[in-house]
Amino acid sequence: MLKELKAISKELLKTKRVDVILAYKRASDGVSAMPCFIFEEKDIDKMILDSYCVYNLSNYIKDFPDKKIGIVAKACDIKSIIVLLQENQLKRADVVIMGIECHGVIDEKRLCPGERPVQDIGFNEKCRSCKSPLPAFCDYLLKEEEERGKTGRASEGDGYASIRKLEAKSPAERLKFWEEEFSRCIRCYACRQVCPLCYCPKCVADQTDLAWFSRASNLKGNMSWNVVRAIHMAGRCVACGECERACPVGIPLMELNKKIEKDVKELFGYEAGADAEQKPLFTCFDKKDPEDFVK
């Protein structure tokens, strides 16, 4: 897969079909992957491709406005590209998507020295409910050379098991849980920085002309920030898991975002990143949207 990927990338740069390739290279610890931006053919050999390639490279699309971009993307990453297309943040002709077959990436929090197979380290939580090792929407589809048998990754149904567990708790228990989680938030905004869909020129959290909510890292401010970001992600979050991965204090952000993902699916039959022609969730409605909560 990597050989093919490098060949395609070289060709894209050579023909000037793209100005830059967003790819992975080996990090300084010798095992994990990190993003790299390749502008010249000679740098293509830096590229790597393995189960350490956790990052969602579409986060960097916003850093190259008006440029033509080639991007190495897993099926989950491509969904965020689709949302970016839905939201006019890039033109389809300006991105060449090299979709790669992926059977799971590591859980970065369990990273240890020395290269190991992903099954030994532990799968990233998002991979456990992944249904699509093969990307459906891409310009180039890069498949593995050998047919994979058992992936070693157990599919955990729809991925909402932990959400249901929380839903089953009492409101008081839930409040206690979230207050504990949010009290650790230091407002570093890493979750925002790593999210491909957080591209607002000036985030509401940073606006001072009208201060939407407190910037202090107290419970009130932290709760406001996290709730507002989750609401702004409604119908857009594709559950790439980067926010949770990037959070330095380990707040289970996916338990927030996936709850809304579950809700919008159940309430409106809406899935984020399904189709580039789809309208964003809150820019449309169905006359039959549920209204049992309205008096």
Binding site: L166, E167, P171, A172, E173, R174, L175, K176, F177, W178, E179, V204, W212, F213, N218, L219, K220, M223, S224, V227, V228, A230, I231, A234, K259, I260, D263, V264, L267, F268, L281, F282, F285, K287, D289, P290, E291, F293, V294, K295
Partner: protein, 137 residues
Amino acid sequence: MTDFEPKIVAFLCNWCSYAGADLAGTSRMEYPSNVTIIRVPCSGRMNPIFVLKCLMNGSDGVLISGCHTGDCHYSEGNFYARRRFAVLKSFLGYLGIDPRRFQMSWVSASEGDKWAKLIHELVAEIKEAGPNKMGKE
């Protein structure tokens, strides 16, 4: 808490609900004074952050009231609001916030009696939910 008097804020759309509340007044219907009304042009104007802000600032309850679907003065605003606030309502409950604290209603300009009845119910429900401890650091 028998002497707990909740502080509830209601966002009313100008064309239907605000007029409905006016009608309740013109008809001299009596209802509890716990609800403070803020006028908006349409329920579609309502940003979830407003509701969150009220709750974080200590309001015990928040109500959004607009036109019945199909009757919106701006043709569709309430359909958008309905979708947006279905998500917020479920999410607030998931965070452990008492779901009674955020409610939505459709009150038309001719439903003065519905408005009065709604306030009675709302105040009773929020009284039961108790004071909002959020935002009291």
